[in-house]
Symmetry: C3
Subunit: 408 residues, 3 copies
């Protein structure tokens, strides 16, 4: 009887497969997945491919010191980021491509990582993150605030062409890389060297305690150090900035400083739904040697932020990059998170230096996030920005920022 | 005996699967498809992903009033459109990305639709069509003419960032949205509001009778209303235009009008291989308030077109967008369609207004389409354009337009 | 007993499929593949789709005549090429899309080929290679040198919009096409006609002997014929060039020549790991008829190159394009190839002609390639360039070029 039942089951299988065409592969077995995008990987672990994208649609409303037209409320609706993304691996080589669709299109990242030396010595070549600072190292998709802290933005190294050695285990994460900063007047490469070390005294049972430090040393030409006041918009050339800039000119152009160096200290603690992180940055641009008596630009600042999931989830932490990552709601009704951050950036008046916004600025951000599922996120932030000196007629401003984020 | 046969069949199945590697998924069952592009969807209806593209290769030849160099025949060969397209859905969120590869790349559409409120209340957020007019609402892939009517082009709202509420059943289709038109001198959003209602008194047995109306109201700055004379090419800045433009200037720049408003009425009847459609548009730009005695720009126009499949097919009609869509040849030798359209656009001379092409223009288009299969279409159009006043030395012109379209 | 075993096997099949979700198709059976990118094709041969990309990360170091800042060593690190690629077919129509991610994005190729007339008469329409010269016709992914010969570059027609008839069997490959060179002052197309014929007196047992000839005739406006000195970099507007340029001007602009014509002869022999190839090119630009007594620009040149796989592999040869293609390492430790090339380009002083680099330049390139697998290639080239006349203070220069290439 058992035999007969099995055979009938087999017959049923055949029947259902007769209706549908078969899908096979001519190589190693493949597992595919679609949860928005599409993914295929061989079960022997040798190959994988994934395609998807991200869209962040932001509505910003801002006034006073944030807006060029002081005294007026400005607003905008725009793609903060829109990208096509592919990644995969071929034996010991991982690769990742992220292409910006905004503007007229540009490469965000395009890199390949050789993993053949093991987890403690990955080699990543191509256009990539330099991994300077906890906030900047994490993905923009999963930050608790709509924007990263305005201190992190001041010291953001961006994505650059270069080569990075990096590795991680549960206790330690390190990275050290050399990148293209630009080319000089002799058509020779200006390089940047950036390193970071993170240790995790606690990393178990959903609790992580993260202590790190990093530096970047950059050859090239640097006219200023500056940062937006916590929000996009308001035509940031003439407002919405704390900026320290050299003033000596030659032939109408600013004579730039010759080297930018910065270092940071980072701390994070996360346990269950609670996440706290803080960073301190200190950087300077060397005064142009051709301008006698000029001072260096010196900027330092810090932020402290805390976020909490009302619905009990926690933000994933990746040891590979020593940064926080994805949020996955625990149940079908989604996840709710509240968030607050205080950021302070300071600079100094000096000979041959002009300041926009004065010597200090402070940005306070409060926010709430709703993660409808793993792919759809809504965020609402309130931002208050204060500068030490007036920009136009204002030294204070507020903004409301709403975001709909779709990851596929 | 039956049991034995089934078991042998099962054995055959196993044998054939031993030759080829298996393809499975670690989640819900998946159905994939390739007919040019690639598509995957889970059988539980929760997720899907599709990737493909379109290429339209046009050859245009044109003379006289259409060509800048009057008296000379001009020609061009170019990608009229070339796009990569992705779409899919994640639970209640559909998404669509269409990226223009021409020029230096730009987002055509990038949008997400929340479908959780049901068919009568979809919410689409992102860069999208505003759905103003039947001709402009339909896909450029499936228009009967190579170009949309030059009246529709005059009132084309383009794809814009915004939010649209829309719904449809067999009888009714509606949409109402608010979009970003631009930003003003205070960095504040200029918005456009656009709505459309379509009813279908007949919609059964392959026959559709479609009656609709729409409006758009746009804040911002508008220097003119204009349209190409039914064809691309001929350097359209100085020829190939009916245009009504403001003339008052300040500091060398035209002082623009302050608001554009337009409405339309649309009619369509399709039954089997026959399709008839007609639209009337009426719009105006308010004269700049700072220019005393200036008139508004006023433009109206209509088109009437008919098309017929010699091979008996019919163009699909989508209630969701209340627009005509895809053509699928009934048999392997492909489908043949003939097409004719008459378009008329009128404007008025006025104080502070200058006209290119005079007060009226008329474009007559005749065409034949060959749909080789669902993916490959050939089109040949003859265009005759007449203007009320000469542009250069001509008030009449002809064009031949050929297209090869590939959809994958 | 046999019956029972089969039934148990069927039961096992059911069990394993109960753990993993099924993947089926609702049309013809599909075979999929992932080896970096992703590929799907129906087993009935009617449809296929493939997506992937390429990245070439180059480090260049160069001095003297190659570098604008003479006497200084310059260097750069950059994406030489970065592309997303899709291809597939729909019944008798193949299509291919290759999109440049570098710069601000551009279409590299976008074309469709009708294969319904058989192998000897393919019709390719769209933006495509013109197939002028063996070196330029082969894929940039699989050239033995990091760059093609600087003679091939001087006569490179690029990818253009047009229509090409082409066919091949084991003995013969031909192509003849008409392309858009540009548009003239009457908005009329300037066209280029390009043809090529290759025969293979030997093509068997891993040995190919290839003899070919081609021509291109191009209407339009041409100010010069020029080529980089074998390497990218060094700001090529003022250095790193052999260039013959017209000098007569009108209103500050060079009066261009009116027609460019060129022809070539190509030879190749490959047997096992050895590959030898050589080409001779001869071209001219007709002097502008409006400049009395002006001479034509005349340029000719040749290259000879040889490469050898130390590990015994051979480079694939494609009869369809009559060009060398892919390298696949024979074993897991990868493939090693050595390579050398001598290129010589000559031009003439003349009335109304100015020369950069003098009348002759010679580039010698030596290289070694390591193909780690089918997807990852490392290349290291040494380049020596000599010009007949000094550019700045130099008539000689060297370069080192390293490349990491990833194909997915």
């Amino acid at each position: 009887m058992k035999l007969k039942l099995i055979s009938l089951a087999a017959a049923g299988l055949i029947a259902s497969q007769a209706n549908a065409g078969t899908v096979t592969t001519d190589g190693a077995d493949i597992v595919i997945k679609t949860k928005g995008g599409f993914e295929a990987k061989t079960t022997d672990g040798k190959y994988s491919f994934k395609i998807g994208g991200r869209a962040m649609i932001d509505y910003n409303s801002y006034d006073d010191v944030i807006n060029k037209a002081t005294g007026e409320t400005g607003s905008d609706l725009f793609f903060r980021r829109a990208r096509i993304e592919m990644k995969g691996h071929i034996e010991d080589w991982k690769y990742g491509l992220s292409y910006n669709l905004t503007g007229s299109g540009s490469i965000d990242q395009l890199k390949t990582t050789y993993t053949g030396f093991g987890k403690m010595a990955n080699l990543t070549i191509g256009q990539q993150k330099e991994n300077f600072g906890l906030d900047d190292t994490g993905s923009s998709k999963w930050t608790a605030g709509v924007e990263r802290s305005f201190v992190s933005d001041a010291f953001d190294t961006g994505n650059n062409m270069g080569i990075k050695l990096h590795g991680a285990n549960d206790f330690l994460t390190y990275s050290l890389g050399v990148y293209k900063e630009g080319t000089d007047s002799d058509n020779d490469l200006d390089t940047a060297t950036t390193g970071r070390v993170v240790i995790r005294p606690i990393y178990s049972n959903g609790t992580v305690f993260h202590i790190g430090a990093g530096f970047t040393q950059r050859d090239g030409e640097f006219e200023d150090i500056s940062s937006r006041l916590g929000v996009r918009g308001g035509e940031d050339k003439t407002a919405n900035k704390l900026k320290a800039e050299f003033t000596a000119t030659a032939g109408g152009d600013i004579i730039p400083g010759e080297e930018l160096s910065a270092h940071n200290i980072e701390l994070a603690f996360a346990s269950g739904p609670l996440q706290i992180m803080a960073e301190y940055f200190d950087g300077e641009v060397e005064a142009p040697s051709s301008v006698a008596g000029s001072d260096d630009i010196e900027v330092d600042g810090y932020y402290v932020q805390a976020s909490y999931f009302l619905t009990g989830e926690s933000r994933k932490y990746k040891t590979g990059s020593a940064a926080f990552d994805k949020v996955k709601p625990s149940n079908a009704s989604g996840a709710w998170e509240i968030f607050g951050r205080m950021s302070q950036l300071n600079t100094d008046m000096g000979s041959n230096i002009t300041l926009t916004g004065g010597e200090d600025a402070q940005v306070t951000t409060l926010g709430v996030n709703y993660y409808m599922n793993s792919n759809v996120k809504f965020a609402l932030n309130y931002v208050n920005s204060e500068t030490d000196a007036k920009i136009g007629t204002e030294d204070d401003g507020d903004a409301i920022v709403g975001r709909l984020q779709l990851v596929f």
